[in-house]
Symmetry: D2
Subunit: 99 residues, 4 copies
């Protein structure tokens, strides 16, 4: 009945990820308020660094769980697709490094 | 009557910055939805890269206007503080590079 | 006689990696020359971006081969250490993101 | 008598920059040795992060001196080119952020 019975690599921590992203959403709203209230440029930049770091933290967590579950799963059950999966994960990491 | 008559370096583009940050806020909400709907890990990571890039774009714009207005202003009107201002801006850039 | 009979994940491409790193070494020597010859600051910065990108490219390749060989190997032959290995790889990716 | 009367922003620290870049060159040679000696992937990645961080440190120093000298100089002596110079510096920072 469930199209995705196993869920994703991050399934066990879904609630925690959504909570972290909600906090990040609040930080982005805080940035709007800072601009609206003419906060000093450098303080806005410091806060953007904090939000970026928080987002990257979420990304690193997702990468970890993707490798631990999805990639390792493919290694066992679907070795034909393993190279594709690792390649895909690597491209995602490369995109994070460039963003 | 205005506590900050000169405004900040980004003052002329305040509305545009707030609009960009509102779009980023929507993207962060989109990330929560993606997690909630069990979107494939790699697609979530791709979207996180896009949000990070958008945030960095805002930061680069703020740095540009800070240098163009605040730093250049200090060079003319407050040379004693110029070194401090440039040092402070450089530290903000270093933080962005590490975030 | 060989302390590391299996080699590392990157073993099949050792020569290619060393060649890439030799080119990067040449680029770093080029940077010294640029500074020595009073090259315009912005042109030095552009070249530093190119070297950083080349280094990150090497890192991304190593991550890919580490996951494809070492992590997948642990999944099959040493499942007790799998979590440690993925955690260790994730920490390395996090360090790259912050560097 | 001075081949470069204006000098670059980094002129007063030329020797220090060349020394830092020489150390980075040595670190890149160290990376080649690590690969050649089959060092564990994660240890190579850790070292790449250190080299990248050292390179970014040089870049941040150059940005600081470029703004302090070249940009501020343009503000005083060549205001027509100020916007171009700040735009150019900002683009260099954006490239660093993406590298």
């Amino acid at each position: 009945m469930n199209a995705n019975p196993d869920g994703r690599g991050y399934a066990p921590d879904k609630a925690a990820y959504i909570k972290r992203l909600r906090r990040i959403e609040g930080q982005v709203r805080g940035l709007q308020r800072m601009i609206d209230e003419d906060t000093y440029c450098i303080d806005v930049l410091t806060q953007i660094s904090a939000v970026t770091k928080a987002l990257q933290g979420v990304a690193v967590g997702l990468v970890e769980q993707h490798v631990k579950h999805c990639v390792v799963n493919a290694a066992t059950n679907d070795p034909n697709h393993l190279d594709d999966m690792v390649g895909e994960a690597t491209k995602a990491i490369a995109r994070l490094l460039r963003s």
